[in-house]
């Protein structure tokens, strides 16, 4: 259902959309039943139709069962929802599949800095590619991200991934995603981070293999010269990250 509103671009988007669908169905059912009974009573027992009210204490068991049976059914639905909620949560947040590549994401007022591991797939080496407000990914790879914040709370949110994680200063939070759809999508900051919060937008570019290699080569061209200042830049980055 959600994919009709916003497209799915990560492997676990469908899991999350599924639990949402489950809740829509179960919750919607109860909402409909409750509202229907409610309005039916309003219509049926309006004063003009039913001038004399009955005297029902609701203390007798025969009366209580009208509350209790729906109530047990609610509990059943709850267990169902809890199961799928935790399943989705476990997949997204707790259980990380082995990474093909790792990207370092640093939030600060009011921009996202992305450190791509570069050709050697190793963070902290000279060929890292640091970009601001644009994250470049290769479709179909499993990425781990290391999320940090330099100043206040931020929240790395990619709606099409169905992914959201706050960046907390003084912590490195690891997560994963696997882009499944090439294209360019929004990255938002979902945690109030000061006056620039509303403009803290970034882009995630998901490339096919060839495009990605093209982009990577463009970035790493002439690394020999860049090597030195790249290293210093990375050092500075790590420092501020560990600050």
């Amino acid at each position: 259902m959600m994919e009709l509103i916003i497209e799915q671009a990560s492997s676990f988007a469908s899991d999350i959309d599924f639990i949402i669908l489950v809740i829509v169905i179960l919750g919607g059912f109860w909402l409909f039943v409750a509202e229907f009974v409610f309005f039916y009573f309003l219509y049926k027992y309006r004063r003009s139709n039913n001038p004399k009210a009955a005297y029902i204490t609701g203390e007798k068991h025969s009366e209580k069962k009208w509350i209790h049976w729906p109530h047990y059914m609610v509990i059943a639905c709850d267990i169902f929802i809890i199961f799928f909620a935790i399943k989705a949560w476990y997949n997204v947040k707790q259980d990380l599949p082995p990474a093909d590549d790792t990207v370092r994401i640093v939030g600060q007022q009011w921009a996202w800095t992305f450190v791509h591991s570069g050709p050697d797939k190793q963070l902290g080496t000279f060929d890292d590619i640091t970009t601001v407000d644009e994250l470049h990914l290769k479709k179909g790879l499993v990425y781990h991200f290391k999320l940090e914040s330099k100043d206040v709370l931020h929240s790395f949110s990619v709606p099409v991934f169905r992914l959201k994680q706050d960046a907390v200063p003084g912590r490195v939070i690891t997560g994963w995603f696997k882009p499944t759809k090439s294209g360019t999508f929004d990255v938002q900051c979902a945690e109030m981070c000061g006056i620039g919060h509303g403009a803290m937008a970034a882009k995630v570019h998901i490339h096919t293999d060839s495009d990605y290699t093209y982009w990577e080569n463009k970035q790493t061209k002439g690394h020999a010269q860049k090597k030195l200042n790249q290293q210093t830049a990375n050092l500075a980055n790590n420092k501020s990250g560990d600050l």
Binding site: D166, P169, A190, E191, H197
Partner: protein, 559 residues
């Protein structure tokens, strides 16, 4: 308040209306302060909704909204509506007015403490309003005030604003601690002779339980606020990781209070609705004890769920599973309460007066708020919905019924007791339909926008290509327009409220033929409430008892 100032000498006016220790006057002082703050909150929402609908355009009565101003508007709209509207309206106004009358005594047990609590509350309101005019402007770090943004002026850019914000909130807590002690002690100790546990009207139970919840949950946040203040003023660094602190601690302290707070305001609203449903369906409350025990269960459970506000806020993912379970479990007592209230209508004789309409609207709307809460309480879907407009729509579907609809219901219902005259039904119905329909038209678009990935507290969505699509912008404009319509439809209410003071039809002692004790004295009740203090012979909801020719049976009526 001046409207009721029919006094001879200035001196007696001050004593009678400003420095009074009479619980009824203090209740009205809370009420009018709450109305004043509600108007402020409404103005704030008007401004920032206009900014969302027409980004960068000049807003009538405010001017162009900068992003910093926008944050301040959003932040203080939330803070004011919860701490300076919902709390004083539901707990303080109805608690002060009704508890002594309903338990059949002459005043609160500590009238001067009661007056003090209002004065502190009023001071806190002034501090809150003052924060708009300090250099740097009002605090803009969202009503949750997460550090480091709220502690470090270099980040928030509102050095004075954030301090004022913390001070105002802390003062407000103190006021309600004092008030709460008063409510609880009064209801516990000064009940009319013969009024046993299960003869206490549900609303009194609800307000007392709410006060207990507040008292038990707010302590850590008060300590946390002191720490926040030291961080702001001395740069101590309780919440600063570079100094060994931890920002997450504040989130825990805040939500350990913040979630019970939801029930602190919900329970009195449920109480008001219970009173009104029974009176206008001439029906005994379905399962008084069930309601009571369920409420207590809700209160206890509400302490076990707080971290569902922090699922993606950097807490350990394993904890999220625990809190998902507890959170979903709280739907059980809440569902039970809804079922009980619906069952109360069964075979009733329902009269659609204005208070009844509002009470029923509370039920209909709150059900939506409750169901949409499941999306956010279950960790899996919260990853997506957290901090989107979906959250905004969800908690407005809970808080609007609670702090606006239920309050209107209570005002229309107890107005005759408060001022001795009834409010106009026609104007009331216009007000009702105008408010309810436009409210839904505001919030339903927000559900869709949230599902489309729109985040909260963003002053201008043109920065996000996915969110600046025209049809999404149209929805925002639609919501804003309906919001303005809703504000316009409040005019009949104010007109009705003021005019009825003079022209409303005389109410008499018991216009609604209700059972509870407040209706056994003259309206408005004099200082001291009762000519002779009532004795209680039966539970509060004995309507249409078989074999009586009257369909109601006041609690104080002998056999």
């Amino acid at each position: 308040m001046t409207s009721s100032a029919s006094t001879h000498s200035e001196q007696s006016f001050w004593q009678k209306y400003i420095f009074s220790t009479d619980h009824k006057v203090i209740a009205l002082q809370y009420f009018f302060t709450g109305v004043m703050m509600a108007v402020v909150g409404a103005f704030l929402v008007y401004v920032f909704r206009m900014q969302l609908a027409f980004p960068g355009k000049e807003v009538l009565g405010f001017g162009v909204v900068s992003s910093g101003e926008y944050n301040a508007l959003v932040t203080n709209h939330g803070t004011i509506m919860i701490f300076w509207v919902a709390m004083p309206m539901l707990i303080a106004t109805f608690g002060n007015y009704l508890i002594p009358l309903m338990v059949g005594c002459d005043d609160m047990v500590f009238p001067r403490l009661n007056r003090l609590s209002f004065q502190i509350f009023f001071l806190s309101a002034l501090v809150m309003l003052a924060s708009f005019f300090v250099p740097g402007g009002a605090f803009g770090g969202a009503w949750t005030a997460y550090p480091p943004l709220s502690t470090d002026p270099n980040y928030s850019l509102t050095p004075a604003g954030s301090t004022f914000w913390v001070l105002a909130v802390a003062l407000e807590f103190v006021a309600f601690l004092i008030g709460g002690i008063n409510f609880i002690t009064t209801a516990m100790n000064s009940r009319a002779p013969g009024m046993k546990m299960f003869d206490i009207p549900i609303i009194v139970w609800m307000i007392v339980i709410a006060s207990i919840l507040f008292m038990a949950s707010v302590g850590p946040l008060i300590a946390g606020a002191v720490m926040l203040l030291f961080d702001q003023l001395l740069g101590v660094g309780f919440y600063d990781p570079s100094k060994g602190g931890d920002p997450i601690l504040w989130q825990h302290l805040f939500w350990f209070f913040g979630h019970p707070e939801v029930y602190v305001v919900l329970l009195p609203a449920l109480g008001i609705v219970a009173e009104i449903l029974t009176v206008f369906s001439r029906k005994k409350l379905f399962g008084y004890k069930t309601v009571l025990y369920t409420t207590i269960a809700t209160g206890v459970l509400s302490f076990f769920v707080w971290a569902h506000h922090q699922f993606v806020a950097g807490i350990d993912p394993r904890m999220a599973n625990v809190f998902t379970v507890t959170t979903i479990l709280i739907s059980i007592p809440i569902a039970e309460l809804c079922f009980v209230y619906i069952a109360t209508l069964y075979k009733g004789s329902i009269e659609f007066t204005t208070p009844m309409l509002f009470a029923l609207a509370f039920m209909a709307e709150f059900l939506i708020g409750g169901v949409t809460g499941i999306f956010l309480g279950s960790s899996g879907s919260d990853i997506y919905f957290h901090d989107t407009s979906f959250v905004v729509a969800h908690f407005h579907y809970t808080f609007f019924p609670i702090s606006i609809i239920a309050v209107f219901a209570g005002v229309y219902y107890w107005y005759p007791k408060m001022f001795g005259r009834k409010m106009s039904e026609t104007l009331g119905k216009i007000h009702f339909w105008g408010t309810i329909i436009s409210f839904n038209l505001i919030m339903i678009p927000l559900f869709y926008l949230g599902a489309a990935g729109q985040h909260r507290r963003v002053y201008n969505y043109e920065h996000f290509s996915e969110l600046s699509k025209p049809y999404l912008q149209d929805l925002r404009v639609f919501a804003t327009v309906s919001m303005i319509v809703m504000l316009v439809f409040q005019v009949p209410f104010f007109y009705n409220f003021i005019m009825s003071l003079f022209r409303g039809e005389k109410a008499g002692k018991n216009p609604w033929k209700a059972n509870t004790l407040e209706w056994t004295t003259v309206s408005p009740p004099p200082h001291g409430n009762f000519a002779e203090f009532p004795k209680v012979y039966r539970p509060p909801y004995e309507y249409s008892v078989p074999g009586r020719k009257l369909d109601y049976w006041p609690q104080n009526e002998k056999a």
